[in-house]
Amino acid sequence: MIELDQVTLVYPGMTLSFDLSVDAGECLALVGPSGAGKSTLLSVVAGFEQPTSGRVRLAGEDVTESPPASRPVTTVFQEHNLFAHLDATANVGLGIDPGLKLSRDDHARVALALDQVGLGGLGGRLPVELSGGQRQRVALARALVRRRPILLLDEPFAALGPALRREMLDLVDALRRAETLTTILVSHHPEDALQAADRSAFVSEGRIIAIDQTARLFSSGTHPELSDYLGRAE
């Protein structure tokens, strides 16, 4: 479903290379220190970054050259997912039509999506009138109405407290199962991966060092970098 085939990105002083395949409907977590290249990997899938070499295939189709909007992908970023001058309904509605020309059916879909993320009745609020968690729910609602088979989550809950983060991950888990979305979740926290991801990959210094069933990966102890990252003494 998601295939990165010998993708490399060359930056001054750093080269990243990724080889990865994620099955349809699977949720993969990317964990690793900051600056390791997790977000860059997502940007390559989403189309915000062009690889220096290699191919990106999504749903069997080569999209290496395609612009972000034409890929079967939707991304929820850590912050700034919403336009500050538009209310929640309009921000979700943009996912259906980027010019906000919405039919009555479309409005019903927006309302339904807001219900699904637990924001029923709050569609008239501006982003400043919502809490951090609520803003991310609006972004999730928009991801739902876009009906893209691939959902990328770039540390979307990093700014939230532990309880709220668990709640949001449960929501994501339920939504992606209901809609059978192929999901990649970037996170700093192993517990996020344990809670929501079928498999996890450990990324360090621009490459994937280990990839396995989530529970097995974190208990294996065969990768010294991973142990260092987790802070476990062997």
Binding site: G47, P67, T75, H80, P98, G99, R146
Partner: protein, 537 residues
């Protein structure tokens, strides 16, 4: 802390002193106007067809000029925002700053050379077999000149708004597949909406009080603004009553406009950003690309053509004869003297006000009082030069020979004209320096001369140089009160050029225009380099 090492009253003295001086100058002018106006019937104003026509025309031309300038500036600013990289972009941006420095009367000369009866446009039309058209004198010429000055200004004011759209918004637009039209409605328009009324009011005010352009291109009583009507009433009809009435009327209009600008305030929607860089997604569309470069080409040509005409017609004019004329050098010396004195005064007064206002704002947290203090620097916007001049004229006439005092009056008015620019250029950096270094300076006991030498000067010399250079260029090119108070003995370069234009000495005028242009640019560049030091970009 038992004793503060520096009595903070020192920080109030400069501002209070400057404000007292301003109050005296403006108060005197006011006193004159009010004394002369007793016995005048305001009702006369609307009964007088001439006056009514002047007021209506003033509003009408300002409205049209604003509409045209902004209507053209919007696509140009958008094009420049969309095309971040093309050869000559930074040069073009610098070119757009030129109309602020080029003397109005010089630009008018260039505009006549391009759009006049025998200008380039008519010659091109003749080449294609069309009859020459006379459209320059009157509303047409006024609009062309106002667009020449205000289109680049509006572009420079609007462009930062586009650049403030955060990369995150473009990332979202890319993800959602927004077209150029969607971006226009959903990203750009909301960003422009709070800014447009401010820019529009500023341009309107500049055109409303425009003097030199209307004086030279206005052509007769049918197209006269209040500012020019004051000049005519004083200089030709010697009708003090009418001049006073017009001046008071102008004052009321300007005060209303300034109040409107102030009321609009600075309601900027701050876009949160992590400083992400993401290009906007609608750049590769071919018609869009063509449109952008057409806009950029248009502003380039319309700005360059008149200036180019000044250079070429100056070079083919009777250079040797004009340069040998002592009148030119007398005028140049006078202009230079006025420019240097008035710009130094403007910067000193500006710094005085700013020292006090930043003390109020940062250390005393009296923001309202600080803003009121800074507003004093913009008095000239409420009381335009000719209104101030009329007041001076009334007060001084019974006491002294106004014309022997005229250089002093010109210096004072020019300094007042430069003051708003000083406040704008020097204000933000001065506030920033205090915010960043006040505590450090206090803890290390750096103060007085040491603080000026080691902290303020290195950090502020660049904006200080820029504001001094701006004031000097503005004063060198000013054709305002000098038209009112000028005489055989007191002829500045712009007035000399105006007289030669009015006398149809086109050859002499061409060389004088080029001379004045060169002097302004040299003065601007020289002061900016000398005081501001090398720009570190």
């Amino acid at each position: 802390m038992a004793e503060r090492s520096e009595p903070l009253m020192h920080r109030f003295a400069p501002g209070v002193l400057v404000m007292a001086l301003l109050a005296m100058i403006v108060g005197a002018a006011f006193f004159g106007l009010l004394r002369e106006s007793t016995g005048l019937e305001p009702g006369l104003l609307w009964d007088d067809i001439y006056l009514r026509r002047v007021v209506v025309f003033t509003l009408w031309q300002a409205f049209l000029s604003t509409l045209l300038s902004l209507g053209l500036a919007l696509p140009v600013a958008r094009a420049l925002a969309r095309r971040q990289r093309f050869p000559g972009r930074s040069l073009l941006l610098r070119l757009l700053g030129l109309p602020l420095v080029v003397p109005t009367i010089v630009a008018v000369f260039g505009i006549v050379a391009i759009y006049g009866q025998t200008g380039l446009m008519n010659r091109l039309a003749a080449g294609l077999g069309f009859e020459p058209v006379q459209y320059l004198y009157g509303l047409g010429g006024i609009l062309i000149a106002h667009v020449f000055f205000n289109l680049p200004l509006a572009v420079r004011l609007l462009l930062p708004a586009w650049q403030s759209v955060p990369g995150e918004s473009w990332r979202l637009a890319a993800q959602l597949g927004m077209s150029s039209r969607d971006i226009l409605c959903l990203v750009e328009w909301p960003m422009l909406r709070p800014l447009l009324p401010q820019v529009a009011t500023l341009v309107f005010m500049l055109c409303f009080t425009s003097f030199a352009v209307v004086l030279t291109l206005g052509g007769g009583p049918a197209s006269t603004t209040i500012e020019v009507a004051i000049y005519q009433a004083l200089r030709f009809d010697f009708d003090l009553g009418r001049a006073t009435l017009l001046a008071l009327l102008q004052l009321i209009c300007c005060a209303t406009l300034v109040a409107a600008v102030q009321a609009m305030g600075k309601h900027h929607l701050v876009n949160p950003t992590e400083g992400r860089v993401q290009p906007r997604p609608d750049l590769d569309h071919v018609p869009g690309r063509l449109f952008d470069f057409a806009c950029i080409g248009l502003v380039l040509v319309s700005t360059l053509l008149p200036l180019g005409a000044v250079v070429t017609s100056g070079l083919v004019g009777p250079l040797a004869q004009v340069l040998a004329d002592p009148q030119l050098w007398n005028s140049a010396a006078l202009s230079l003297g006025i420019a240097l004195t008035s710009s130094a005064l403007a910067v000193l007064a500006g710094v005085g006000i700013l020292i006090t206002s930043r003390e109020l704002r940062i250390n005393r947290r009296r923001t309202g009082l600080a803003e009121a203090t800074e507003l004093c620097g913009s008095l000239i916007l409420v009381i335009p030069p000719l209104v101030l001049g009329t007041g001076f004229f009334i007060v001084l006439r019974p006491l002294v020979n106004v014309f022997t005092w005229s250089p002093l009056l010109i210096v004072v008015v020019n300094a007042l004209m430069g003051l708003p620019y000083v406040m704008r250029v020097l204000g933000p950096p001065m506030t920033r320096v205090t915010q960043q270094h006040e505590r450090l300076c206090a803890s290390l006991d750096i103060r007085g001369w040491d603080r000026l030498r080691m902290v303020e000067w290195p950090l502020l010399r660049q904006p200080a140089g820029l504001s001094l250079a701006l004031c000097a260029a503005l004063s060198t090119g000013d054709l305002g009160v000098v038209a009112l108070f000028g005489s055989q003995d007191v002829t500045t370069l712009p007035l000399l050029l105006y007289q030669r234009l009015a006398g149809y000495q086109m050859g002499e005028a061409a060389v004088t225009a080029l001379f004045l242009l060169t002097l302004s640019l040299l003065l601007f560049g020289g002061i900016e380099r000398l005081i501001g030091g090398r720009a570190h970009d």
